[in-house]
Symmetry: C2
Subunit: 515 residues, 2 copies
């Protein structure tokens, strides 16, 4: 057996910082639980100082999720480090990840600090983090564009102060495999001490995965990756690609092992896509719907009698299997809850009640309910795990190529007060959104709209994700129904409810991007 | 100035072979014209022997598109080579691309040929191709898993018979940069002669771009790439990533040049996405909508006063600019046609008339018409450049959370005969599709459904792409409207019309996958 590569997942930190993603606590917990099932070694759960919401999510994950190390990101300000520890302290095993930029352009334009100041900051922050936990990671941000000598000075200071992992981020996605791998080898030679070298690669030039793997080949033993490759700009190295490349090319990578349960990859990918509202492109490696599909021709020729002719991975090995039928019209409450539990989805209380109601409505319209359908319903209800300002009582639409589209809606608040509105619009979805906005007294503009079908077939569920913007705040909403217009109305209402919560909290996220 | 790298675009061949993509001739021509504007050196226009439709598309592109070399793919059977020449002969400059597999598994399970047979086939086919044109490319399929010595024997035969380009495909996406680059260097050492070495990398392990670039660094001077990285399974190396990596890291790649006009990348990407129905993921490098976007926080902090802090490419340099407002409610027919012409879109006759009608309808509902809106309308009308069996006369929908959804539709055939139907459904879109199917007498099942908004705002156009399957044949349909239900009905009707044409031709594509 070869050595172990530590899988450090940053889906909930770098991934969640992508524009328009706004996961709430319930959703982050659900993803973190799934990442634990997937077998990642470290979960970077967030950036606690960024906002109260971020802090609470990291804290909740630290309290609940068992298995992986729970890590929080922190700038070098000591108050940031303290706040980070406050959030992660409840974990089984905790890590604090301190970062500060070391490139000329970042020091000059972003930090406005001298080299000496940067060194002093790194030393103080790592020392403080070390006073809380033995497991401290340090990142020189924009490492790939930093002066090598100076960066190594900062890294030596960090190691002396107690850092046990040195992460060398290619923050701007500038690296090329050979060059990035060499840089990590050079760090190893220039910085004495007992530490793990880690990669963090962005995909701006399409080489994040190759850069990560080249570094691993040269001795890096931690990789920072995100499911579906999400993250700032073009995103991070995709977890699923790095893991499957190590497995498939074990011969080349010297038998390196990971703890990832590859069969959970497809489900983790679906969950992250659905909760973030970020679609996975069809031809995405490993988890895309076509990753193992061929145009019909060659099947007809029977050349795939031997699977290995065109496939180097087995779809089943990454969990790409037909969604199983698990429930039907006559399934009761217990069967429903049991099935969710078996699928590893933990929802309780009101969210469970509402999900069950939605399931029964759906079962009236659709004979066979698959795992994928349940995932979609639960994903929608997770967004309502917090108290909603409004629930949908009823909605009606009329439209067509003749005359304006109209919609009538009745909403009800938790104390049972009903509000109604009728509105016209450019199309029925617009009419429905207008009616909901009017009834709720919350206006916002639609900045993105995306529908995908959960399974095939005419009675497939439509899964709608929208993004609404109001006074500079952007929230997403999700709705599921066999009717796309109804799904859209539900998504809009979901966003309205989130907007009410966000505005009530009066909160703006205050953050830098991180490595 | 450094040496030139030949950009060989296979969007219309390997890309178009992706499951569910079924471009018709008008759409392929439109993409080919755009590829010429983008400045690619070679367009692999298709696989002429695969079907009559493929043949005609390659022929049309060879007759019309000027600038790039027009290439056709061919198996080694002499009749295939002849047919390929028949299609490409009309081009300004032609290329025939001959391939045959050289790996054990492919020879045994797919070709059922001995090594000697494979060599003889390669020789005969290249010789025949050379009798038609000087520009002959040869690919040993599944090169990365082939016995190196045997593969070189075949390559020597091909060069002796006149091949001028040797393409070394990583057909199964198995390669790692260092290893793939070394293989190409070894080929150069083992195969004497004057030829260009070419890459063709699949992305199954997420390393297609890095493999391509590592090979270029080692001397490959042609890269086979596809827009948006589409292609078999996880797709090919993405054209935009390879080109921008060469440009951005000119320092590393020794100043290599391409003829690509990078400012056309974004538009080419949108066109390919829209016509294929393949979404581009938000975090896709270079052409994704977030490729240059940051979470709001850092903008608020003004750290982007210096753009280079986080961006290594300028969005404008790849054509990622705000869609300009180009037309309004009072724009006339000439202004409309002129604007399309300026945007480089050539549509004429009935398609132009219909696009203008749709534009006027849209201008009644939407004040400002942008370039992106026009692209969407034209994309829909391209699908109707051939004679349609049915046009939409009118459609009405009713639905909501109470009672079944219903739709009434009136279709009209070219000879003026009207057919009507009313249907119920699980949701209004389902009802509308049922009504259209009933009126047209064409049934099919919905296998995929995707909506995207063309621009932001509540009055944004919804761009719907669906895939319909009937008796093993899969076609796509596209519809655009400010109302998503109407857009869906239009998309369904578009697919019904295509299905009628395909079934009338009684055609099944007969192909292998190619390199």
């Amino acid at each position: 057996m070869g050595e172990q590569v530590i899988i450090f997942d940053t889906t909930l930190r770098d991934g969640e910082q992508s524009p328009g993603i706004s996961l709430d606590q319930g959703e982050k917990l659900e993803i973190a639980e799934q990442l634990a099932r997937l077998g990642v070694d470290v979960i970077e759960a967030g950036f606690p100082v960024a906002s109260q919401g971020d802090f609470e999510s990291v804290e909740a994950i630290a309290k609940v999720v068992r298995g992986p190390v729970i890590c929080g990101l922190s700038r070098t300000a000591l108050a940031d480090v303290d706040r980070c520890w406050e959030a992660v302290q409840h974990a089984e095993r905790q890590r604090i990840h301190v970062f500060i930029a070391t490139s000329e352009t970042h020091m000059k334009h972003k930090l406005r600090m001298t080299k000496d100041q940067v060194k002093a900051e790194a030393k103080a922050a790592v020392t403080r983090a070390k006073s809380y936990t033995d497991d401290v990671e340090f990142s020189p941000e924009d490492a790939s564009r930093s002066d090598f000598e100076f960066m190594c000075e900062v890294l030596r200071v960090a190691v002396e102060a107690g850092a046990t992992t040195l992460n060398i981020p290619d923050t701007v996605g500038f690296g090329v495999p050979e060059e990035y791998a060499k840089r990590l080898l050079d760090v190893r030679a220039a910085v004495p001490g007992d530490y793990v070298i880690s990669t963090h690669c962005h995909d701006d030039l399409g080489m994040a995965v190759a850069n990560t793997l080249a570094a691993v080949k040269s001795g890096a033993r931690q990789v920072e990756v995100a499911m579906n490759g999400i993250g700032e700009r073009a995103g991070n190295a995709a977890l699923e690609e790095v893991v499957m490349a190590l497995k498939t090319r074990e011969d080349y990578f010297g038998g390196l092992q990971t703890n990832v349960v590859a069969e959970e990859l497809a489900r983790t990918s679906r969950m992250v896509s659905r909760l973030t509202g970020y679609p996975v492109q069809y031809n995405k490696a490993v988890v895309g719907r076509n990753a193992f599909a061929h145009e019909a021709g060659i099947h007809q020729h029977g050349v795939l009698a031997e699977r290995t002719t065109y496939e180097i991975m087995d779809p089943a090995a990454v969990g790409q299997v037909e969604s199983k039928i698990v429930l039907g019209k006559h399934s009761g409450r217990h069967a429903f809850a049991d099935t969710l539990e078996k699928m590893g989805m933990h929802i309780q209380g009101d969210a469970l009640n509402q999900a069950f109601t939605r399931f029964k409505e759906l079962a009236d319209r659709k004979v066979e309910i698959t795992e994928a359908d349940l995932e979609a319903i639960v994903a929608e209800e997770l967004g309502t795990s917090l108290q909603n300002a409004f629930e949908l009582e009823s909605i009606v639409f009329r439209g067509g190529s003749v005359g304006a589209a109209t919609s009538e809606v009745v909403l009800v608040s938790p104390d049972g007060v009903k509000v109604e509105a009728t509105a016209e619009g450019d199309g029925m979805i617009d009419a429905a959104c207008n009616a909901i906005s009017e009834a709720a007294g919350v206006t916002g503009s639609l900045v993105d709209f995306k529908v995908s079908s959960v399974t095939g077939g005419v009675d497939a569920l439509g899964d709608v994700v929208i993004q609404m913007e109001s006074e500079g705040t952007r929230v997403s909403g999700r709705g599921v129904s066999t009717d796309v217009v109804e799904a859209s109305a539900r998504a809009w209402l979901n966003a309205v409810n989130r907007m009410v919560r966000v505005q009530a909290r009066g909160e703006v996220r205050d953050l830098e991007t991180g490595p």
